[in-house]
């Protein structure tokens, strides 16, 4: 009896068994997660770089120096450089609208914000083909009359990309601004600050992390968009071929190594995006 008590005094359970699982269960759960992550997330990631460098570094560079690849990179950059600023303006306006005001139909608006995300990218592309196709589109007569090409050309790809990446900046900003509340904005207003001054000097500095991540994520998605752009582009090599589309072309032509070399660029962009997210979470936790 006494020995039993002593045992309890000198060796208390390491974890609170009331709110923690036994150690073997924890170990098992962590193991399951490890295996799943390795099979589904890590291996695909490693594969990209392994395949890209399989035939050596010079082959890797060659793949990137291919003029068609360069064209694709330039096209992708130019699409993103239009789509991302557009969505930035939209995101800032919408986040201000939703977090600073109460109005009728607000929750409906928030739902609509998610629409481009719920719609299949293929259908997103189809929408703009139906509108702007020179043969089947609604505006085909006008477009033909003025000899404007929207589909199978840069404008269509920009529009489709903008549609697909529309919610990303707004969706990062809204929760960040909601978490901050509106008290500081009210304080600025009582001190006589204008709306713009309040926005730039009080609101923005408080959500700059979320804003930056939103831009980076929006950019990564814009550069990586495949389905929608594929439908509206017509995929003309060297003309309307973005990086993801050219990856597909290369892959279908059995130039696997070149396809993965180009993929590695977008993968690095994705990793950069994740890295930024981690940095912002970290700085946020440190502030608290």
């Amino acid at each position: 009896m006494e020995g039993n008590t002593r045992f309890r005094i000198f060796r208390p359970p390491k974890t609170n068994s009331a709110t923690n699982e036994p150690i073997y269960i924890r170990f098992l759960l962590i193991l399951i997660m490890f295996i799943f992550f390795i099979l589904f997330l890590l291996m695909p990631l490693i594969t990209v770089f392994y395949e890209a460098f399989k035939h050596g570094f010079s082959m890797y560079l060659n793949a990137l120096k291919d003029p068609f690849a360069c064209d694709a990179i330039i096209l992708t950059l130019s699409i993103a450089s239009i789509s991302v600023p557009l969505n930035l303006i939209f995101g800032l306006a919408t986040a201000w609208l939703i977090t600073k005001f109460d109005f009728y139909g607000k929750s409906l608006l928030v739902t609509f914000l998610d629409l481009p995300f719920a719609v299949s990218p293929v259908i997103a592309g189809l929408l703009f083909v139906l509108l702007f196709s020179p043969t089947h589109g609604w505006f085909s007569d006008i477009l033909r009359f003025f000899d404007i090409r929207l589909i199978f050309a840069l404008p269509g790809m920009v529009i489709a990309t903008t549609f697909v990446t529309l919610p990303f900046i707004a969706r990062e900003l809204i929760p960040a601004m909601q978490a901050r509340g509106n008290q500081e904005e009210y304080a600025a207003i009582t001190l006589g600050a204008s709306g713009w001054k309040t926005f730039f000097n009080v609101t923005l500095p408080n959500v700059k992390g979320a804003l930056f991540y939103g831009i980076v994520l929006c950019n990564a998605r814009a550069m990586g968009e495949f389905g929608a752009v594929s439908v509206v582009s017509g995929n003309i090599k060297g003309k309307t071929s973005t990086i993801p589309l050219y990856i597909e072309t290369l892959y279908m032509e059995y130039k696997t190594q070149a396809a993965f070399a180009l993929s590695s660029l977008l993968t690095l962009l994705a990793l950069f995006t994740l890295f930024i997210k981690k940095c912002i979470e970290f700085s946020y936790k440190k502030r608290i």
Partner: protein, 352 residues
């Protein structure tokens, strides 16, 4: 600057926060809006500030020093508002926070950066935060943040200072210190000041005028002494400090014949006697239940006889020692100052 408000109504959805409020705040006074949570006091303060607008009603008027400001936005009312949780700009230093209002002025009126720096230093001195100019709000204590918020509000030379639960987020000791400091501060600069609080002790100690709200209506306005000594309703008497409520036992009291109504008596108006000393006293037999002798004064928990209603008496520690009470002892209590309320408003006051 004086403030008048007439017929102020405010509804949030179906909830009526303010049901026709009228008030008149004279210049240079320190005024407290006192009430329980949900009484509409913060809404009223925010309406005075222009951070909320009253329901549209052609009789509604808010007047600052003779000027109708009912629909003037907050930024143009020249008010200083101190938020409950201070709402300091987290991305700015103490000095930048205080300078913000000045930098918002239109170009013509904006002081030069030299002048701003001078003014900021002056204010920092005034609120006793010397040396903290370059700290960020997160590096300050609650009391320091409170004073930064005050300095920030004062920087724009407001005509009136509005404070929302100014001491609510501070711990008890800092609260007392800051309360005294604010009192002195307001006396020095003589700015019309309105503050919201749910703490009756704070309102009674600090304010020149106490405005008591309940359920969206003003129930009493007056000096601390007036509202404490002549409460207008059972709500006010119950809200301002401890009070005993006795339903029965009225028959025992001379001059009170009817057995309706509720009798209110503050614990410090109850005296305990071992024998009936005078026939004219309002005397009630009672039994001692508990004695709390720790504290500034002695507290005795009693039960009236024969109705057995519990109530409390507060007597000096000396008197407590002299009486030498024990639980279970039968005593006689004397009510020195009694209020009888019937139907919530009609009442009689009996004073010895």
């Amino acid at each position: 600057m004086s403030i008048q408000a007439y017929n102020v109504y405010k509804t949030f959805g179906s909830y009526k926060a303010l049901k026709g409020v009228n008030l008149d705040i004279p210049e240079g006074k320190l005024v407290s809006l006192l009430g329980p949570s949900g009484s509409g006091k913060t809404t009223l303060l925010r309406i005075l500030a222009g951070l909320e607008f009253p329901d549209e009603n052609k009789n509604t008027q808010i007047i600052f020093h003779g000027e109708d400001v009912t629909y003037i936005p907050a930024g143009k009312r020249r008010i200083g508002f101190v938020f409950q949780h201070y709402a300091l700009f987290r991305n700015m230093t103490v000095a930048e926070n205080i300078a913000f209002g000045l930098s918002c002025k239109p170009k013509r009126e904006r002081p030069s950066s030299e002048e701003i720096r001078y003014k900021v230093n002056q204010l920092i001195e005034l609120v006793q935060l010397e040396g903290l100019n370059n700290r960020y709000p997160s590096e300050l204590s609650g009391g320091q943040q409170q004073r930064v918020a005050l300095a920030r509000a004062l920087a724009v030379n407001p005509r009136v200072l509005l404070l929302d639960e100014p001491f609510g987020a501070l711990d008890a000791k800092v609260r007392k210190e800051l309360r005294r400091w604010l009192r002195k501060f307001q006396e020095d600069i003589k700015i019309t000041t309105v503050f919201v609080t749910h703490d009756q002790e704070e309102a009674l100690e600090l304010a020149d005028v106490v405005i008591i709200l309940n359920k969206g209506e003003i129930v009493q306005i007056g000096s601390p002494q007036e509202v404490y000594d002549s409460p207008a309703s059972p709500f006010v008497i119950e809200f301002l400090g401890n009070v005993n409520k006795l339903k029965g036992g009225l028959n025992n009291i001379p001059n009170v014949i009817r057995n309706t109504g509720i009798l209110y008596v503050r614990p410090h108006d109850v005296d305990i006697q071992l024998q009936v000393e005078s026939e004219t006293d309002y005397v009630l037999p009672a039994i001692v239940r508990h004695i709390f002798s720790a504290g500034n004064y002695g507290r005795v928990a009693l039960e009236s006889l024969p109705q057995r209603e519990p109530f409390e008496a507060e007597i000096s520690r000396n008197r407590l020692r002299d009486l030498d009470l024990k639980p279970g002892l039968k005593v006689f209590v004397v009510f020195r100052h009694v209020r009888l309320f019937e139907n919530d408003s009609v009442y009689r006051e009996i004073k010895i």
